[in-house]
Amino acid sequence: MHAGSAPSTLLQAALITTQEGVRGDWTTPGAVPDPGVTFPSPTSLEYLSSSRRMQVVRSAIAPLFRVLPSGPFSHGAALLWFAPVGPIALLQRPSLDMDELKEQIDLVLGYSDLRLDRSAEIYAQKDDLLSFFGSAVRMNFRDREDLVEMLAITQGVCSDIEMQVKHQCWTPRPIDVDSRVLPIIQTPDHSSFPSGHAVEAFAMATVLHRYVTGETPEQGLESFALPFRIAQRIAVNRIVAGVHFATDTVAGAVLGIAIGEAMIRMLWSEGDVPFRRYIGGSTDDVTSDIILKAQEPVTPGDFDANAGLNEETDKYSRVETMMRNAAVEHAKAYAEAIADAPEGA
C-alpha cells in the first residue's frame, strides 16, 4: 500500500518517471535526511504494522514450543514441550479399532440434529474465531489493539502446534467411520484428533479470561465464564458439522488450555503452566464438567507413565526417554553457546 493507493504497474511506472523528474543530480554532495525520521528502540514494536508485529512476535514465540512424538516413526502420542517450563501437555490418541471408533459415531449423529440451528456459525467459524470472542469483550484495532493481537498470536501459535500434534496422533474422521454422517463442510485432510478449532478456541478463551478477570482456566471453567462458553460452542459446532468426534474436542480443549497458559506466562512473565494429559477414547458428551475433569493438571513428578495407557504404554516410556535426551541435548547446546559467546556478551 502506498500513501495514496494500492500498488499497481501504472503507479510503479509513474513513480519511476517522477523520481527521474524530481530527484536532481544525486551525485551532488549533501543528501538531505528526512528531518522527522525516528529510529525505534530495540524494545519497541510500535514502528511495525499490526500484522507485521504479530508475525515477529509469533515467530519469536514459536521456537519455544516443541512437539515431541512418542516415537520417531510412529503415530500415537505427542508431548508438548515449552522451553521456560518443560513438558506441559501430553495427548494420546484413541484406539484405532474401528468398532471402538463406531461407538463415538452415535454422539456425532445425535449432534447432527442441531445443524440447521448452527449452520451459520459453522460456516463463519471455518476461518474466523476471533469475531466470536470479540462479541464478548469490546476489542478492535482501536480499542484494546493489544488484546486483539494477543489472541491472534495465540491462535497462530496454536495452528502450528496443533498440526504437528494431529500428525503424531492421526485418527480417522467421522466420515471415514460412518458415511451416514454426511458432514456439512468439507472434511479436512488432516487428523481428526485433536480438534484444531478446540485447541485454538480454548487457548484464546484462556488468554482472554485471564486478561479480563485474572483467573485461571479452571476457575473460568468452574464458573462457566463467557469465553469458555464461546470456546465450547465453537468446538461443539465442529461435531455438529460432522467433522469431529467428541473426544477430539476434549483433547483440543486440554491442549488449547495448556498453550493458553504458556502464552499467559509469555505475556505476563509469571504463572505456572501445569502439566496436563488426555488419553483419547469414548466420552459421554462435551460439557463443562467433562472438560474441567479433563483439565485436572498433573505434575510430571506425579505422572504415572503407565496409568490409563493401553497398548501404547511403552511408547510413552520412549517419550520420557526422548525428553531426557532432549534435555541433555539442550543443556549441551546451551553450554556450547556460552563458551563460544564473545567476551562481554
Partner: protein, 686 residues
C-alpha cells in the same frame, strides 16, 4: 409395479382395534424391521375407543389394555407388567415429601415437548431457584437407577420425574459457581440426550416448542398461587409421524397431572385448618398445544376417554379439571373434504401424494350416522389405475376392526406381508342416542413414496383417486381428513404432506394472496370464501380439539384482530364443540411475525407463530382467572360449576373489539380475546 387392493378380508389377522396400531404392526412385518430395536410390543390389545366411558374408570382400567412404543431405556417394564395385578386402586403416587403449597393453589398443567425447567422466568415471585414447577415428568428420559441398579422411581411407567425441591436444588447447584451450563443441566436431568436416535433434543436447539409454550402460559409474573406441573412427551419418532401415539402419551400425562395434584393436596391438607371448604383437590387447567388432524370428530378418542374418566373420579367431580387445545394450523393445507353421497354417481376426490415423501400418508373417512349393518363402497385408486368400487363388508356396531384390505404388489401378500404397500381398515361406532345407528370409519394407509433403507417398500406418488358410494338408503355426509404428517427428523425435511384436490378449490385469491375461509371487508360482514364444494377449509379444525371435554383455541393478529389464515376453521353448522371456543393472538402485526416467547436457552427470546401459542395464552388467562376466583374465596365457592368453555365464551364476547359485524364463530369462536388484560404486562415483567 402398480399395487392393487385386495377384497375386504376378515379381521382375524389384525389382532387389534386401532387401525393405527394395526398398521404400525403391519409395517414392522412389511419392512422386516427388528421390532425390539426401538420399540416394544405388543401395543394395543384391547378397545382403543369406547362409545361410553364407565363412570369412575381408574387409571389401571383405562391403561391395562393399551400400549405404545417406548424407547427401551425409558420404559419401566416392571410397571406395565404389574399394572393389571395392581388392580383398580393401583397407586402410582410419588414416594417422598410433597411440595408445600397453600390451600388457594391452582395448577396449570403443561403437556408439551422440550419444556425447560431452569428458566428464571419460571421462578415463583421472581425469586431465584424457587421454581413454580411442582413436578416435571420427562416421559422419554432414561430410567433413573441407584448405585445398586434399582429403579429410583418404580412408580413411573416410563422416564423420570422431578419435584420442586429437586428442581430448586439442581438450579442452585448448577448456578453456584456462576453461569449455568445449560447443556450440562439439561443432560443431567434427562431433558436432553445427544446420544442415540430419537432421543429428546429440542432443548439443545435454538427454539423449542415446549419452551415457548411454557413461557407464554407460565413465564414471568404470575399470581403467587399459580403453580405448574410439566410433562415432556417423547420425540416425534416415538409418537409417530401421523401422531399415532399422541393420545396415549397425552392421556398418560393427564392422569399424571391429576395424580400429582392429588398427592400434593393430600400432603398439605392437614395444614390448612379447614380453609379449603368442601373442595377435594386443586383446580387444574391443562394446556396441550398438540393435536391430530384426523380422528373421531364426535369424540370417542382415547384422550377423551381419559379426560372423562378423570373427571368422573370422586375426587374430581366437583373440582375443575379443564383442558385447552389449539385448533391447529392446517386451514390452508387442503387436508379436509366433505362429500354428500346419494344414490347417483359415486363421490370423488383426488388425493395427491407427493414424491420423495419419507413418511406414511394416511386418510381417515367418517360417515354421519347410518343403519347398523350398512355397507359403503370405496376405492382408492393408485395414479394411472382405474377405480373399481368395492363395497365394504356389512359394518355393524363394533368399535373393533371388522374388515380390512391390503394394497399389494403381485398376486399374494407374501408370508410376512412383504408384498403389502398399504392397508385400509373399517369399523363402526354405535350412536349413543340410537342403538340402531352407527358411524363408519375407514382409515387408509399408504407407505412412503421414498424409503432409503427399503427402496422397494414404497407407493407411487401422484394423484390417487378416492371414490365413495353411491349410498342409496339416504343422503349421507362423509368427511375425509388427511392425518397429521410430520417429519420424524429434526428439521421437517423428510415428511411431506399429501393433499386433497378438487377442481372447485382455489388456493389463492385473484390478487395472489392466500385464500382464507373468509374475507373481511371493511365495515361489512365477513364473506364466506370457502365455497368450492368438496375440499374445504371449514372442518379442518384438528380432531383432537373437537370434543366437548376440551376448549379449542383459535388465533388472530394482535395489531388489527384479523384471524390468522392458517388457523383451522370449525364446521359451519355444527355444535359448538366443533368450532373454536375463542381466539387469542398468534401474530403481532402484519410486519411482525408471530409472538415473542422464550427460546430454548434461558433468557433468550424468539418470535414464534401458530395456534399453539394462542392456546398457551388462553391457558394463562384461564389459570389466572381461576387463581383470582380462589383467592377471593378459598373454599372454592366461585369455582363451583366453573368451566373454561363457559368463561372463555363470556370473556371473549365481552373483549372482542368489534362485536358488529360479528366475525364467524367457525373462525374465532365467541370472539377475539386479548392477552393484554393485565397479563401481558405481567408476563413481560421478568
Amino acid at each position: 409395479m402398480v399395487p392393487k387392493w385386495t377384497d375386504w378380508e376378515c379381521p382375524s389377522d389384525v389382532g387389534t382395534t386401532s387401525p393405527y396400531v394395526a398398521w404400525h404392526n403391519l409395517k414392522i412385518q412389511i419392512r422386516g424391521d427388528d421390532e425390539t430395536a426401538f420399540i416394544e410390543t405388543p401395543l394395543n390389545k384391547g378397545a382403543a375407543l369406547q362409545q361410553a366411558t364407565p363412570v369412575g374408570e381408574t387409571f389401571t382400567e383405562v391403561f391395562q389394555n393399551e400400549g405404545a412404543p417406548m424407547r427401551t431405556p425409558a420404559k419401566n417394564t416392571a410397571f406395565w407388567g404389574n399394572l393389571s395385578a395392581m388392580g383398580p386402586t393401583a397407586d402410582w403416587a410419588p414416594q417422598g415429601t410433597a411440595p408445600k403449597v397453600g390451600a388457594d393453589t391452582v395448577i396449570l398443567g403443561v403437556i408439551d415437548r422440550g419444556a425447560p425447567l431452569h428458566h428464571r422466568r419460571l421462578n415463583a415471585g421472581g425469586t431465584d431457584a424457587n421454581s413454580r414447577i411442582l413436578a416435571a415428568w420427562q416421559q422419554d428420559a432414561d430410567l433413573k437407577e441407584d448405585d445398586c441398579g434399582s429403579l429410583v422411581q418404580p412408580f413411573l411407567p416410563c422416564g423420570r420425574e422431578y419435584y420442586k425441591c429437586e428442581i430448586d436444588d439442581a438450579i442452585t447447584t448448577a448456578r453456584q459457581n456462576g453461569a449455568i451450563d445449560e447443556h450440562l443441566f439439561n443432560t443431567k436431568l434427562g431433558l436432553v440426550k445427544m446420544e442415540g436416535p430419537n432421543a429428546p433434543r429440542s432443548l439443545a436447539r435454538r427454539q423449542s416448542h415446549g419452551a415457548a409454550v411454557l413461557d407464554v402460559a407460565a413465564g414471568g409474573d404470575l399470581p403467587d398461587n399459580v403453580y405448574v406441573i410439566v410433562v415432556n412427551m417423547p420425540d416425534r419418532a416415538t409418537i409417530g409421524a401421523s401422531g399415532t401415539f399422541l393420545n396415549y402419551y397425552a392421556s398418560l400425562a393427564m392422569w399424571r397431572i391429576a395424580r400429582i395434584a392429588e398427592w400434593i393436596w393430600d400432603a398439605n391438607v392437614a395444614d390448612w385448618d379447614g380453609k379449603h371448604g368442601h373442595r377435594t383437590c386443586f383446580p387444574v387447567n391443562v394446556n396441550l398445544s398438540f393435536g391430530k388432524n384426523a380422528g373421531p370428530i364426535a369424540g370417542q378418542s382415547f384422550l377423551q376417554r381419559s379426560i372423562r374418566a378423570i373427571r368422573s373420579l370422586p375426587r374430581w367431580r366437583n373440582v375443575p379439571f379443564e383442558v385447552a387445545l389449539p385448533v391447529g394450523n392446517d386451514n390452508l393445507e387442503q387436508g379436509f373434504a366433505e362429500i354428500a353421497l346419494g344414490s347417483g354417481d359415486p363421490g370423488k376426490v383426488g388425493w395427491r401424494v407427493p414424491p420423495a415423501d419419507q413418511t406414511d400418508n394416511v386418510l381417515e373417512i367418517w360417515t354421519e350416522p347410518v343403519r347398523n349393518g350398512a355397507q359403503l363402497a370405496i376405492e382408492v385408486a393408485p395414479p394411472g389405475a382405474g377405480a373399481s368400487l368395492v363395497g365394504s363388508k356389512p359394518l355393524t356396531s363394533d368399535p373393533a376392526i371388522t374388515s380390512w384390505r391390503r394394497l399389494q404388489v403381485g398376486d399374494a401378500p407374501g408370508p410376512n406381508n412383504e408384498n403389502v404397500r398399504g392397508a385400509m381398515y373399517a369399523r363402526a361406532f354405535p350412536v349413543p342416542s340410537d342403538p340402531s345407528l352407527v358411524r363408519l370409519q375407514i382409515t387408509v394407509f399408504l407407505l412412503p413414496t421414498l424409503d432409503n433403507t427399503s427402496p422397494d417398500k414404497i407407493t407411487p406418488p401422484g394423484l390417487w383417486e378416492v371414490s365413495l358410494g353411491p349410498f342409496s338408503e339416504h343422503a349421507l355426509d362423509v368427511t375425509l381428513a388427511v392425518q397429521t404428517d410430520q417429519s420424524t427428523g429434526p428439521d421437517g425435511g423428510t415428511g411431506l404432506r399429501s393433499r386433497l384436490v378438487h377442481p372447485g378449490y382455489d388456493r389463492h385469491l385473484p390478487n395472489g394472496r392466500r385464500r382464507d375461509s373468509y374475507a373481511y371487508p371493511f365495515a361489512t360482514p365477513p364473506v364466506d370464501q370457502d365455497n368450492g364444494g368438496v375440499v374445504l377449509r371449514h372442518g379442518s379444525m384438528n380432531a383432537s380439539s373437537s370434543m366437548e371435554e376440551i376448549v379449542a383455541i383459535s388465533a388472530h393478529r394482535k395489531m388489527d384482530g384479523r384471524p390468522a389464515d392458517y388457523a383451522a376453521t370449525g364446521f359451519r353448522n355444527r355444535s359448538d364443540v366443533r368450532r373454536p371456543a375463542a381466539s387469542l393472538p398468534s401474530e403481532t402485526g402484519a410486519a411482525h411475525y408471530g409472538v415473542i416467547a422464550a427460546g430454548a436457552a434461558g433468557g433468550s427470546a424468539i418470535p414464534i407463530s401458530g395456534t399453539s401459542f394462542a392456546c398457551a395464552m388462553a391457558s394463562r388467562r384461564i389459570i389466572v382467572h381461576m387463581a383470582d376466583l380462589l383467592k377471593r374465596d378459598m373454599a372454592g365457592g366461585h369455582l363451583a360449576g366453573f368451566t373454561a368453555r363457559d368463561w372463555l365464551q363470556i370473556a371473549a364476547a365481552r373483549e372482542d373489539p368489534s362485536p358488529a359485524p360479528q366475525l364467524p364463530q367457525a373462525k374465532v369462536g365467541a370472539g377475539r380475546m386479548s392477552f393484554a388484560v393485565g397479563d401481558e404486562a405481567r408476563w413481560r415483567r421478568l
